[in-house]
Amino acid sequence: MAVERTPDPLERATTALRDEPGTGWIEVSQSVMSRVRTLVTPASAVITFDESGTSGRGGRDSVVRVSGRVLTPRLRDAVDTPTRAADSIDIEVVDDRCSSIHLAIVCSYGLDLNAEGRDARAAAAAVVRELLGPDPAFDPERDITVEVVDVVEGDPHSQ
């Protein structure tokens, strides 16, 4: 930390502060990341259905639930493509059931947006089917809505 010998001591000290190496930051950053990883964000849990379309709720079988914390990243991964990025994913849960999903997406300029929307919906529907099973009340065509919120030049993941 070399301080230029200007006549003004405040200026010299200020320069030294600006150039100061971040002593201790590495240890702090590891601690912060570890701590944040232990935090659980609130999310609704959604009941799942077996192949016969029953959830076990109200019967003797146990009910299996999947947290929105699991569902959201999986939906994001499914919706994302090199030319399409999820902007937001809103999962509405009513009476422990996934009643609707709203996908907001950003697409690259020049794509067929209608086709992108249909493809995003299909990808999301596959995730719902895989994670939650066949809820007889959930109709992907009706209950998954897609909105193209922006069209960008280049990579939609970096804008």
């Binding site: 301080v3 001591p9 702090v28 902007d87």
Partner: protein, 192 residues
């Protein structure tokens, strides 16, 4: 240019708003990127806000990031991510200072206790001593004056960003900065 400093952090990797979007979609690695990008500046700011104690500064920054993680869904893009994160540090540092010891709140107090330049210090003063002297001087400033001075002179934020960070008007920022510079110059004069 001072006002461009905020954008420099995003020079590599996705811009902040993309990282925020990814975090909201459950991507924890994006939050790690935010920590890596803004953490060093926040930590440097925190160290000077809490009187140079690095353990306290680490605690302040950790609490700030925990708050950011919990509240990122409600973060509004009206302010930049950087100003939001620094505002969290400023608040946590103020909380900590309130717990530890009283701080001056009146500028008149500073005028009274400002030391005169009594002697000629050694010209070849060690850099560390100079920084330590500045730290002592900073610790004597009121919280907001100290925060304004650090954000402008060390973190090189614009007046508008400082105003957003500290919930002040840009005119108040200018006033606090003027007083902070004057007070610090008086305290550092003995090092001439």
């Amino acid at each position: 240019m001072l006002d461009d400093a905020a954008d420099d952090a995003s020079a590599t990797g996705p811009p902040d708003h993309v990282l925020v979007r990814r975090v909201r979609l459950g991507d924890r690695s994006a939050f790690d990127e935010i920590i890596g990008r803004h953490g060093p500046g926040m930590y440097r700011f925190a160290v000077r806000m809490v009187g140079g104690d690095r353990t306290d500064a680490g605690e302040v920054v950790q609490e700030a990031f925990i708050s950011a993680w919990k509240n990122i869904a409600t973060f509004e893009a009206r302010s930049s991510l950087r100003t939001w994160l620094f505002s969290l540090v400023s608040r946590r540092a103020a909380d900590l200072q309130r717990k530890r010891r009283p701080t001056p709140v009146d500028d008149d107090l500073l005028t009274v206790i400002a030391p005169a330049a009594r002697h000629d210090p050694l010209q070849e003063v060690m850099d560390k001593e100079l920084v330590a002297a500045l730290q002592v001087a900073l610790a004597e400033l009121p919280h907001q004056q100290r925060a304004v001075w650090l954000l402008r002179e060390v973190e090189q934020m614009s007046y508008d960003d400082i105003a957003t960070t500290l919930v002040m008007t840009p005119d108040s920022v200018r006033g606090q900065l003027h007083r902070g510079r004057k007070n610090l110059a008086e305290r550092m004069a003995q090092w001439r």
